[in-house]
């Protein structure tokens, strides 16, 4: 087990390193670093000073080392627009994004898995057919358009839910989140649902496919031949086998949720990292863009690592290695 972990850690570190090289070279070689990192509004003298200060007149290898050193100490440049360190800006907004992604993940799990299980066990029932049809819809609907329609219906026409922004927060066990207040919940409901829609459909389909395949396996038949109750057969024998692929997918999808929150945050004016990114792209605030990319790469690598570990815990075949 430890050998496995060390190997994965090294792999992750390698990926982060490679990605940082790619981002760095993308910025400094493909794009024009002067435009990227120095505010184009500054006058000529300031630009030249900045070039010297940032070391842009040095050989590229040295620049990378400089960049890497800075990155490791948390210095990823300053925002043109806000004038503050890019890293700080992102970290300030991270909790809001994480909250949104987390809420969406919970919806995907607690709505998707039961529905998918039911659809897999009773595929001919009208409920199942409806669920499957809706899941195709959920899969195909462009998220941003759904978000707009949700605002249209629930906020403008019906007036039940607020249309934009994050609600009030409260602190519980050291975590400050808007999930702990009623007002906060009313604000997060639509964006989280919007974000989760795609994932819920995905989870339903995977769970259903897994159920349909697993139900015909010999071990299910054997469990029934032992006279076990239907409940035990489904919720212990079947579920544990299905959960493995579902968990893997969900874990990776959490990263997708964070990335896709870019869209949801724009529509619902949710003050998270995603909205910051889009604004920065439109306003050409490049240091923030670079910082966001680096952070999200880190996040992804971390996520992949966690999912691998989870997978090995859940599937004893991986954890304990194949037959001796």
């Amino acid at each position: 087990m430890t050998a496995f972990m060390i190997r994965r850690l090294l792999q992750s570190a390698a990926v982060v390193f490679v990605m940082s090289v790619i981002v760095f070279f993308g910025v400094n070689v493909v794009g024009d670093p002067v435009d990227m990192l120095i505010n184009p509004e500054a006058d000529q003298e300031d630009i030249e000073n900045a070039i010297k200060a940032l070391g842009l007149d040095r050989p590229i290898g040295e620049q990378y080392l400089h960049f890497a050193k800075n990155a490791l100490t948390g210095n990823l440049g300053k925002s043109f627009i806000f004038g503050e360190p890019a890293l700080m800006l992102i970290l300030q907004r991270m909790p809001a994004t994480m909250e949104l992604a987390f809420a969406a993940l919970m919806m995907a799990i607690f709505l998707g898995i039961p529905l998918g299980l039911y659809a897999g066990l009773k595929p001919e029932s009208p409920v199942s057919r409806t669920v499957m049809a809706s899941s195709i819809l959920g899969f195909s609907l462009p998220t941003f358009w759904v978000g707009l329609m949700m605002i249209m219906v629930f906020a403008v026409i019906l007036g039940w839910l607020p249309s934009t922004g994050r609600g009030e927060t409260a602190t519980f066990l050291g975590i400050t989140s808007s999930l702990f207040t009623l007002n906060g919940l009313s604000h997060i409901l639509m964006p989280a649902l919007n974000l989760a829609l795609l994932k819920i459909s995905l989870v339903i389909r995977i769970t259903r496919a897994g159920t349909r395949e697993a139900i015909h396996q010999d071990y299910i038949k054997f469990a029934r031949a032992k006279g076990l109750s239907q409940r035990r057969v489904i919720f212990v024998h079947l579920l544990k086998n299905i959960l493995i692929p579902v968990v893997t997918v969900l874990g990776l999808e959490f990263g997708n949720l964070v990335a896709f929150s870019v869209v949801t945050e724009t529509i619902f004016a949710w003050p998270g990292m995603g909205k910051l990114l889009i604004d920065s792209i439109q306003q050409l605030d490049r240091p923030v863009i670079v910082a966001y990319l680096i952070i999200i790469v880190l996040l992804f690598v971390l996520l992949n690592l966690i999912v691998d570990i989870l997978y090995s815990i859940l599937d004893p075949r991986v954890r304990l290695g194949e037959k001796r």
């Binding site: 031949a225 032992k226 035990r232 004893p316 075949r317 304990l320």
Partner: protein, 327 residues
């Protein structure tokens, strides 16, 4: 016979209703098994022997269902019994052993979980006692260091060991009947004979009746007390094990025995039964074996009925072999 048989199957028909027509997988099969007796159910793939086994415990998957016939277990009728009642009997009074041990044990659950749950499902036993009984059962089937094995997962055991676990699970609740569906087919030949021997011992010691389903005549000849031969869903011959093998009455049985290589006939070309098993959807009318039989004639266009012969033998044929040596 004065005492009631443990299992009495009467005119069982299990059909699969598919888009292309009805597949008559089990077509009028009757046999009985007494306490402590081992019945060998022999046939090639597609003969309906496995479906017969599943019909007994009510585990035939749709679109298959038992359309008629009776299955009496200790005098109780199982056809038409409630699912609840069947569940009570399964794993408890009637146990099954499947063919492929790799897929029968759930790969993500531990051995002790899979053994103890069988006990918990049918009695109010405590955890400690369940664990002890499981450990003892593993010891009985010849598994070394049973405590360690209990804590392992299926993939950590070899094929032979997994099948022994399956056998142990079958005997856990001390059932009256065990149905073993080709339990040794997927194993190495050396392990096969070990397992067969152990199963035989266990049955003798506990008085459990057993139905051993197989395509391998050699396996069944040493093990079974009585043999039933199935072909294309029908029972074509039945009788005592030595009787059927030494003096087969049905041409198919004779063909089967004749095609087993043995060192008595070294150097001679292998005998084959010409032709192929018929598709169960397009069964020709009359005797199903007609196309491949060299004794057939115009009479065989009618379906032969079962004929009871002396000595507890049953044959379904218009031209059974004489009570001498095979064809």
């Amino acid at each position: 016979m004065s005492k009631a048989a443990t299992l009495e199957v009467g005119n069982l028909r299990t059909h699969f209703l598919t888009k292309a027509g009805a597949v008559r997988a089990v077509d009028d099969v009757s046999f009985s098994v007494r306490k402590g007796e081992v019945l060998g159910l022999v046939g090639e793939s597609g003969s309906g022997k496995s479906v017969t086994g599943f019909s007994i415990v009510g585990l035939v998957d749709p679109p298959g269902r038992i359309v008629s016939g009776s299955i009496r277990f200790n005098g109780e009728e199982l056809v038409g019994a409630s699912e609840d009642r069947l569940r009570q009997l399964r794993g408890n009074r009637i146990a099954m052993i499947f063919q492929d041990p790799m897929m029968t044990l759930n790969p993500v659950l531990r051995i002790d979980t899979q053994m103890m749950e069988t006990l918990f499902a049918h009695s109010d036993i405590g955890k400690q006692e369940a664990w002890q009984r499981s450990r003892d059962a593993l010891g009985q089937v010849g598994i070394p260091s049973p405590e360690e094995r209990l804590r392992s997962y299926p993939h950590q055991l070899s094929g032979g060991m997994r099948q022994r676990v399956a056998i142990a699970i079958a005997f856990l609740n001390r059932p009256d009947l065990i149905i073993a569906d080709e339990p040794t087919t997927a194993l190495d030949v050396t392990i096969q004979s070990q397992i067969i021997h152990e199963a035989q011992q266990l049955c003798r010691n506990s008085g459990t009746a057993m139905v051993w389903i197989t395509h391998d005549l050699a396996v069944v000849s040493g093990l079974a007390d009585r043999i039933c031969v199935m072909y294309a869903g029908r029972l074509v011959e039945a009788g005592s094990s030595s009787g059927v093998i030494d003096k087969p009455r049905h041409p198919y049985t004779a063909g089967l025995i004749g095609s087993v290589p043995s060192h008595n006939r070294r150097g001679e070309p292998l005998n084959q039964i010409p032709g192929m098993t018929p598709s169960l959807i397009n069964l020709p009318p009359g005797c199903a074996f007609r196309a491949r039989c060299d004794r057939g004639d115009a009479a065989c266009v009618e379906e032969p009925a079962e004929e009871k012969l002396s000595g507890g033998r049953v044959v379904r044929c218009f031209h059974p072999l004489a009570g001498g040596s095979g064809a």
